[in-house]
Amino acid sequence: MTMSNIFLISSTSLIFIGLFGVLTRKNIVKILLSLNIIETGINLLLVAFGYKEGGKVPILTSSDSINHLGNMVDPVPQALVLTSIVIGLGTTAFALGLTIRYYKTHGTLNIEANDEEEVTAHE
């Protein structure tokens, strides 16, 4: 079993665990946790896509490095992962903020609470 396969398997399991959590949990906080697990899994997956057995850090330190380009791991997935982490962070923060509001308006964190009770119409 190569490193790459380990990455793949663990990331896939993380994603599936997250998907399962999103499907089955009723508590919003737990759902958000599951979403984060998915995200972690995806990040791992993306990194694994760029991973190379025995590869080097993709930084051109000297003019010599130009000859070892093939030996470096792919930098693009890492850039993607960075962006994705930022987005994931934003999502989590925003969602948690909404969760607080949700608890205030619904009095519960159950996702299945009815949204439309006793709300007067707004345009």
């Binding site: 998907l19 999103v22 499907l23 996702i111 299945e112 009815n114 439309e116």
Partner: protein, 626 residues
């Protein structure tokens, strides 16, 4: 400016104009009258000019060509359009008086749009124009039927659902047929369908089946015979005649325009003397008229009663068309005009009654003949015509249809026709007896005769039905032009006599009228030479010595009007539920409503949102694997 275009533009522009001044009702309806007058005049001048046409190219490509909308003045279209405009003109005059403060329906602008689409349907040269106008007609009619009343809106919903099914099938049919002929032209599509009948019989049957469904829906032929009873009854009283007489003819027009030529030109399996699809059509017409007649007999609401009567009459027309013979088509066209005239007269006289009394249930009325003698006379002559009794016009067309059916040996269809015709007598008399005759209720002691503006169109209609009855040539001459235009060889018809295909069966109607008049004179002399009569009070009846008034019985309760044909109804009771297409429709509507609520709940609760997402993914994956 092209006169064909003017026919379209004038109602359209006035529709928007009247929308702006909707508050001045009398002005609006007068404009409406003026427009229908203009249309009738313009159409009158167009008789014989069969080369008039108009077309416009749209920036929209189909089959690689730009789409063209075109109109043409064909004898068939002219025939229907002219008589429809004439009817509209008379109704318009009535409407001016009818739409006062209390009865204002504010429908004139939409009605003008309807007239616009009316012209479009009758003069359309290509399917796209036909469809556009057809759909415009269906939709505008919805708004007129509903006319801002809750109860009417419910009835109109019923109309709308069936009508939209009709437009859907029409659209499907048009697309299929135009793909076949690679053009929207109606004439070309007839030829290509005839060709298809020789190569792929069942496909061609499906194609014309779609069109026939549409036409049957619009004309309310079995199995779609139920919607008129709701829509006609709840529409504005002055619109009901238009709905019943003009709008029920769109389907008939469609059948003559498209289905008859195909059936005539194609080589089809025969059943007796005529082809199987035509026979099927005749059977549908027969079932319609029988069922509608039976249902009409049991109605207590007079507008519903005449709604069924209209259905039955269109059934006759379809039977006449299905004979595929010259006499039959002549009879059908003749009956179309007759139906326009006498049914308009009936509905207008009923509208006058409703205008004065505000009551639609027959058993709550009675004895109106004392107060509204002219209305009574109009109604009487109209029902004589409707019952097909000589010497009024309704007889001639019914007679022609019966003769044609007999000549084609469509035995059971003609029996159904006679059944419906005799049954017509029952329901027509029911309304006559319950509304105009019998005891006058106390609360209607002070009502007056219909206003002059209502009386004029009613009188004109009455005279028209008499004139056509005595001199059938007024109608048969234009019908000659129509039949010639359809490619039949017809001998020019005479002013007085109608011919049939049977031996020695021609009938001189003018002579019939003379004979009847002499008989009338004999009978009148007998009446005059006999003893004197004394007029007594209406309530002074034989009641086994009792005086009903002493028993706290008011005149209207004394009337026998409710449950008029009770014993007869008992015979049909087991059948009534079965033939209630209305019930099927509403149970289907309930199913849709329940499904709708369930789905709506699914979206409201949203527990399964993620699950549905996964299901969606599964669909995609499985779909991709297959």
């Amino acid at each position: 400016m092209n006169i064909m275009l003017m026919l379209l533009v004038v109602p359209l522009i006035t529709a928007f104009l009247t929308m702006a001044i909707l508050k001045h009702q009398k002005t609006v309806w007068t404009i409406f009258l003026a427009v229908s007058g203009y249309l009738s005049y313009a159409l009158f001048t167009m008789y014989g000019k069969w080369d008039l046409s108009w077309s416009i190219e749209l920036g929209f490509k189909m089959f690689g060509k730009n789409v063209v909308l075109s109109l043409i003045n064909s004898p068939l279209g002219w025939f229907f359009a002219f008589f429809a405009s004439l009817t509209t003109l008379l109704i318009a005059m009535f409407s001016i008086a009818y739409n006062d403060e209390k009865h204002d329906s504010k429908t004139a602008p939409i009605w003008l749009l309807l007239i616009f689409s009316n012209i479009g349907i009758f003069f359309a040269k290509d399917w796209l124009m036909f469809f556009i106008m057809w759909e415009a007609m269906s939709t505008t009619a919805y708004f007129i039927i509903a006319h801002g009343k809750e109860i009417s809106a419910k009835a109109a919903k019923f109309y709308l659902s069936i009508s939209l099914i009709g437009t859907s099938t029409l659209l499907l049919g048009i697309i299929l047929v135009s793909r076949l002929s690679q053009t929207f032209d109606i004439g070309v599509s007839i030829d290509s369908l005839v060709k298809l009948f020789s190569t792929n019989y069942s496909a061609a049957l499906l194609y014309i089946g779609l069109f026939i469904t549409t036409f049957l829906i619009k004309s309310a032929i079995f199995p779609f015979y139920m919607w008129p009873s709701k829509a006609y009854a709840e529409s504005p009283d002055d619109f009901t005649p238009f709905l019943s007489t003009v709008m029920s003819k769109y389907g008939v027009y469609g059948l003559i325009l498209f289905i008859l030529p195909i059936l005539a030109k194609s080589d089809l399996p025969m059943f007796g003397k005529i082809s199987q699809p035509a026979y099927m059509l005749a059977v549908l017409g027969a079932i319609t008229s029988v069922l509608a007649t039976i249902l009409a007999i049991f109605q207590t609401d007079m507008k519903k009663l005449f709604a069924y009567s209209s259905v039955a009459n269109v059934g006759y027309i379809v039977m006449g068309l299905a004979t595929m013979s010259v006499v039959g088509i002549q009879g059908a066209l003749f009956h179309s005009v007759n139906h326009m005239i006498f049914k308009t007269a009936i509905f207008l006289s009923l509208a006058a009654v409703i205008y004065r009394t505000g009551e639609r249930d027959m058993h709550k009325l009675g004895g109106l003949v004392y107060k509204m003698p002219l209305t009574f006379l109009v109604y009487l002559l109209a029902i004589i015509s409707a019952a097909g009794i000589p010497p009024l016009s309704g007889f001639t067309s019914k007679w022609l249809i019966v003769q044609a059916l007999m000549a084609q040996k469509m035995l059971f269809v003609v029996v159904a026709m006679i059944f419906a015709s005799t049954g017509a007598f029952m329901y027509l008399l029911r309304c006559l007896a319950s509304v105009f005759l019998g005891q006058l209720p106390d609360k209607y002691k002070d009502i007056k005769e219909a206003p002059l503006l209502m009386a004029i169109p009613m009188t004109i209609l009455m005279l028209l039905t008499l004139a056509i009855g005595v001199i059938p040539g007024i109608i048969t001459k234009p019908i000659d032009a129509v039949l010639t235009g359809m490619g039949y060889n017809v001998e020019p018809s005479s002013w007085t006599t109608v011919h049939t295909a049977l031996a020695k069966s021609d009938l001189n109607l003018t002579y019939l009228f003379y004979v009847f008049m002499v008989a009338c004179v004999i009978s009148l002399i007998m009446y005059l030479i006999s003893g004197k009569q004394e007029k007594i009070d209406q309530i002074d009846n034989y009641t086994a010595g009792e005086n009903p008034l002493e028993w706290d019985t008011t005149p209207d309760r004394f009337n026998f009007a409710y449950g008029f044909y009770q014993p007869f109804k008992q015979m049909f009771n087991p059948m009534l539920d079965l033939i209630s297409f209305e019930r099927w429709m509403s149970s289907f509507g309930r199913i849709v409503e329940r499904a709708s609520s369930a789905l709506s709940l699914l979206y409201t609760r949203s527990e399964g949102a993620i699950l549905m997402l996964y299901i969606g993914i599964a669909i995609l994956i499985i779909g991709g694997m297959m």
